[in-house]
Each structure stands twice: as C-alpha cells, then as structure tokens.
Symmetry: C2
Subunit: 198 residues, 2 copies
C-alpha cells in the first residue's frame, strides 16, 4: 500500500528543486538528483508530482513566495516613499544575488529563457508570476503618481514592466560578468530615469 | 583510418546546434539530436569537437557572426545618424525574433542564463561576444556624442552595456508573453531616454 503523502516531504522536494534548478537549470538536473538532494527515495517523487514539468510549476511558485515573504514588505511599507520602496526592493534582490556571487541569477528569468519556449505549463506559471510582480511594482508607481513624485506620463503597469525587464537583463549580464556593475547601472541609470518619467 | 575532417560537416553540425540549442536549450538536446539534425553519424561529432562544451563555444561564435553579417552593417552605415543606427539595429533583431514568434529569444541571452553559472568555457565566450556587441554599440554612441546628438554625461561603454542589458530583459519577457510589447517598450521608452542621456 502506498504511504500517505507527507506534506513535509513535498516541501523538501520543492526546496531541493529550487536549489538544484537554480544552479544547474531544469534540464541540467534529473529527478534522481532532486530526490537525492531532498534525501527521499526516487520513486516517491511521483507520489507528490505528476511529472517534472508539473514539479517545476510548484518550484516557481515556492521560489516567488519566498521572495515575497522576504522582500515584499519593502513594497508595502507605507512609512517609505513609494519610489524609494521600489528602489529598496530591487536593491534587496541584488543583495540576495550577490550572496551567491551572481552565479545563479533569478530563477524566474532563468526558466523564462530555458522553458517558456517549449513548456506551456511553465510559461503559464511564469506569466502569472511576472504579472504578480508587475502588479506589486505598479501599485507603488501608482502611489508615486498620486503623491506627485512620479509623472503621470506613463501607464503604471507599463513602467513596472519595463523596470522588471531591464532588471532581468541586468541579472543576465551579471551572471556572465559575476560583478554587481549591471545591477548598479540598473539602479543608478535605468530606474531613476524611468521613474522620473523622462 | 579515420576520415579527414570535412569543414562542410563541421559547419552543418554547428548550424544544427544553433537551431536545436536555440529551441530546446543546451541541456535540452543531446549530441545525438544534433548529429541527426545535421544528417551525420553520431560518432563523427567527436572528430570535430572535443566535447559538447567545446561545441557550444563555436555555436555561439557562429551565431554571433551571422548576426553581424546580417545586421552589423546597420551600425556602420555612415549615411545614417549614429543614434538611428542603434535604433535600426535593435529593431532588426526584434524583427528576427518575431519571425519565430518570440519563442526562441536570443541565443546569447539563453545561454548566459543556462550556462554562465556552471560552464567557464561558455562564460568566457559569452563575455567575449557581449564585449564585442557592446563595442559596436559604444562606437555609435561615441559618434553620437561627437556630433552632439548624445550628451556626454555618460560613458559610451556604460551606455552601450545598459542598452544591451535592457534589450536582453525585453527578449526574456517576450519569450514568456510571445508578443512584441516588451521590444516596443525598449524601443519607445528605454532606448530613447538612455540615448538622450536624461
């Protein structure tokens, strides 16, 4: 008789997946690597996930949840000016990437390029997470427009999109150069100009 | 006795590699897929390339050569204002991506995220190609600064870097959304503001 599913094992598998897929990519690690990392028998993977494709959808969700839990508060902190919240948020993400010497990048960006061309389930999840991220940033932009610190010349959602896109490009470059310079360019050149609406 | 290497077979393998790795990623296709696509026996791959890691370094070089051959002239066309050359170049790249419905993205960006974290040979090649690309764009920026159309407030190389980074981020997003909007935001919001030096 199969054992009843254990939610703790499920989370352990997802956390192993976040780490391994972040380092090696989706196709760069197998189910066996993930179960070994999680310390569970290989066969048990399929008690929890229908397939590796279904697994990565949940990996992405948990990855983003952790980001929101750790850094999302920065975007919601009403004691800080809205524009500064956005700056602090991206800066905190950069600090996280620096702690791994920029070699990992952003799992959402990595899987956007590795999987969005071929896996529709991953693509749907990436679309949902990018939309969620965009909404959180757009909410700050809208508040900035209300208090006059961000010009109303641009749509808040569009501005949020372009910030996230430029950010992901900086992450990509830093993964090659292994230096903070692309993040600095984003923080010092791109973000202020876009938020100034110039 | 092994057959003497045939340069035509080598190029066929590289072209098969560009196509397959662009669609499925480096780890998403094997040597057998590549030799099958090229129509050569699997064993012959290693007459031309020491390893799949060495192969992808040459795949990247050939990919970039094709871009320079097709579009590089736009950056060198002295009958066009330097700033417009940069705009036309990125626009031509976007047209190329649109022809594959944005599902492939840029091979340099894809492999930056898939391989730069784990393969030092790929990382060195990506670094070289990004530097080359940056130099070509920076040369136009420098010309624009000389003719007064681009302010001298920013270093030409830094500006070229930030343009390429923002571009790669747009490509990434478009691979998820399968729409030209991120390229349009880059062309209409990011690039003009950065080139205006505001």
């Amino acid at each position: 008789m199969p054992r009843p599913p254990n939610p703790e094992v499920r989370v352990r598998l997802l956390e192993a997946g976040i780490e391994l897929i972040h380092v090696r990519g989706f196709h760069g690690c197998g189910v066996k690597d993930i179960t070994e990392e999680a310390g569970v028998p290989k066969g048990s993977f399929y008690n929890y996930f229908e397939s590796k494709d279904a697994f990565v959808v949940d990996v992405l969700a948990l990855y983003w949840q952790a980001i929101e839990r750790r850094h999302g508060g920065l975007l919601l902190d009403s004691t800080v000016a809205p524009v500064d919240r956005v700056k602090l948020f991206f800066n905190a993400l950069a600090d996280g990437h620096e702690s791994r010497e920029f070699a990992l990048g952003c799992l959402i960006g990595n899987l956007s390029l590795e999987l969005a061309g071929t896996s529709s389930a991953s693509r749907d999840q990436l679309l949902a997470l990018l939309t969620r991220w965009e909404q959180l940033v757009a909410d700050c932009v809208t508040l900035g427009q209300a208090d006059g610190s961000v010009p109303r010349t641009h749509d808040a959602r569009e501005l949020a999109s372009v910030l996230i896109e430029a950010w992901e490009g900086a992450v990509l470059r830093a993964k090659v150069t292994r230096a903070r310079a692309p993040y600095q360019r984003f923080e010092e050149s791109v973000m202020p100009r876009l938020l100034a609406g110039l």
